[in-house]
């Protein structure tokens, strides 16, 4: 699959509804480099979803501009613009009267692709999102919530758009499936390298998924736009510090894995619990505290011991 991505620029983008005193989005300026995931996060009323919908013009801009690869969204035909952007929403919005294949083929069909092309593309995409290609002939009502969300992602990817908009895609999914979908999405993204604008109200999801995080506060003002690490360790102000939570130091641990810190030698010790090197530090700390042991053996994917770790090593 061709890897292509577009740079997304918000330039003083503003949305003001005539019947409200405060703007929904207030002079938002940020740049999402091509191939990165930018997460918009913030309390309700922060205008995250509004900001996202400005991009595909489901909500028209009041002032300012948004550019995709340097081209203003207002200079493009609105249907062409939308067809060139992948769009994933919380309720998925699969068309209940169409099979999975017909759903995925919606935009390709508008582009005049053949049935054969759509069939092959569907099989390829289903595999990519972790569904068996035999699902192609099913109707949405025959799928579970997690499966629907995967099909929704496949549909958004069908025309190979350089930019994806994802509006709380996993908020309605139970935590276990959500974690799996997030992991799969990140794996997918390493392969596809799309530019992604991702909205969530869940700061943990933002930290996990985002290359960069934009925190919006009430009135649609940008509070901070930075990497997850900087957001957690160097919050710009009291609002951001409050929003990311008092446990932000703990959250920051989830940004690194055991494999990324220096371990103690001591692999000869027997009887200690084992832990995978790909585990993030936060989970590893939890594992150690819960296990009642102050030390664990870190192993690689093949089960070879790499060293040992203690809680002190993690929080250091």
């Amino acid at each position: 699959m061709a890897t292509q991505a577009a740079e997304l620029v918000f330039d003083e983008a503003t949305k003001q509804y005539p019947d409200r005193p405060e703007p929904a989005v207030d002079r938002l300026s940020l740049t999402v480099p091509a191939g990165e995931i930018c997460v918009l996060v913030g309390p309700s009323g922060g205008g995250k979803t509004t900001a996202l919908k400005l991009v595909n013009r489901l909500i028209p801009l009041t002032s300012g501009d948004i550019r995709i690869d340097g081209r203003s969204i207002n200079d493009q035909d609105v249907t062409e613009l939308r067809r060139s952007i992948g769009y994933v929403i919380q309720q998925v919005g699969l068309f209940p009267h169409m099979t999975v294949e017909a759903n995925i083929g919606t935009v390709p069909r508008l582009y005049g692709r053949s049935r054969q092309w759509i069939r092959e593309r569907t099989a390829e995409l289903l595999e990519l999102v972790g569904l068996d290609p035999s699902y192609a002939k099913r109707y949405p009502a025959q799928l579970s919530g997690g499966q629907r969300q995967r099909v929704g992602l496949a549909r958004a990817l069908a025309a190979n758009p350089p930019l994806m908009l994802m509006d709380e895609p996993y908020s309605a999914i139970d935590p276990i499936v959500r974690a799996r979908l997030q992991d799969e999405f990140l794996r997918l993204q390493r392969e596809l390298r799309k530019t992604v604008l991702f909205v969530t109200h869940d700061i943990d999801e933002a930290i996990k998924v985002g290359d960069r995080i934009a925190i919006l506060r009430e009135g649609g003002r940008l509070a901070q736009y930075d990497t997850p690490e900087n957001i957690l360790l160097k919050p710009a102000d009291e609002f951001v510090a409050q929003f990311v939570g008092a446990d932000r130091a703990l959250k920051a641990l989830s940004l690194r894995t055991l494999g990324q810190i220096s371990l103690r030698p001591g692999t000869w010790l027997d009887g200690l619990p084992q832990i995978d090197a790909s585990t993030n530090l936060r989970d590893a700390l939890g594992f150690l505290l819960a296990g009642g042991s102050d030390r664990a053996i870190v192993v690689d994917d093949d089960g070879n011991p790499l060293g040992t770790v203690t809680p002190e090593d993690i929080v250091r």
Binding site: I89, V92, G93, F95, T106, V107, P140
Partner: protein, 238 residues
Amino acid sequence: MIPVLGGSGPVIPSFGSGSSCEQNNGWWCTDWLREHWGDTLQPALVQHIELVAIAIAAGFLIASVLAIAGFRYRLLDVPVGGFADFLYTIPSIALFQLLVPFTGLTVLTVEIALTSYTLFVLYRNMVAGLRGVPEDALEAARGMGLTRVQTFFRVELPLASPAVLAGLRIATVSTVSIATVAAFVVPKGLGEPIFIGLDQNLFKTEILAAGGLAILLALAADVALAWFARAVTPWSRA
């Protein structure tokens, strides 16, 4: 002159002169049925289907236009729905007679009345079907770059079709039933043999046969439309 009991229909030999079954006014005179299937029951059945088919087709067409208008412009919904409800409320025989001064004792009078009765159910179901299209599907369609027209034909219309077809079923069954009253105005349809049977000292076989045909026709239409709806909306079975 308005025929009170369909007196202007074809002259059927009174049962007094027929077989012993007919002379005893039996419930099921096979002889009579065999003799008069061709000249009475079969033509009445065909006429009945014709009356209903035209009314349903006209009603469907008119209701479609009204429903699309009432769906796009909500302001129209209350007056249009209210008017359809008003027509539906007028008793059938009264509506037939009220139309006579305008259109006379004609098939047109019958069709106008029958069509009027279909509008209520068809319009309501169509609008409800269009309104019932899930919001998330519409947002996805817009977000994916479907135009207004594409959204209507590819998303809204198919998703409204189960409700539309359910309305069509109800309207068809009701119209088959109400069309028997048409014989008050024109000597056509399955109402006609029933009125003649009533007229001729309550000839049971004729009433039973024609009435039974009307009921069977309604039920057959119901089953056929249910089957059709199932066939064209495979997703609703999922």
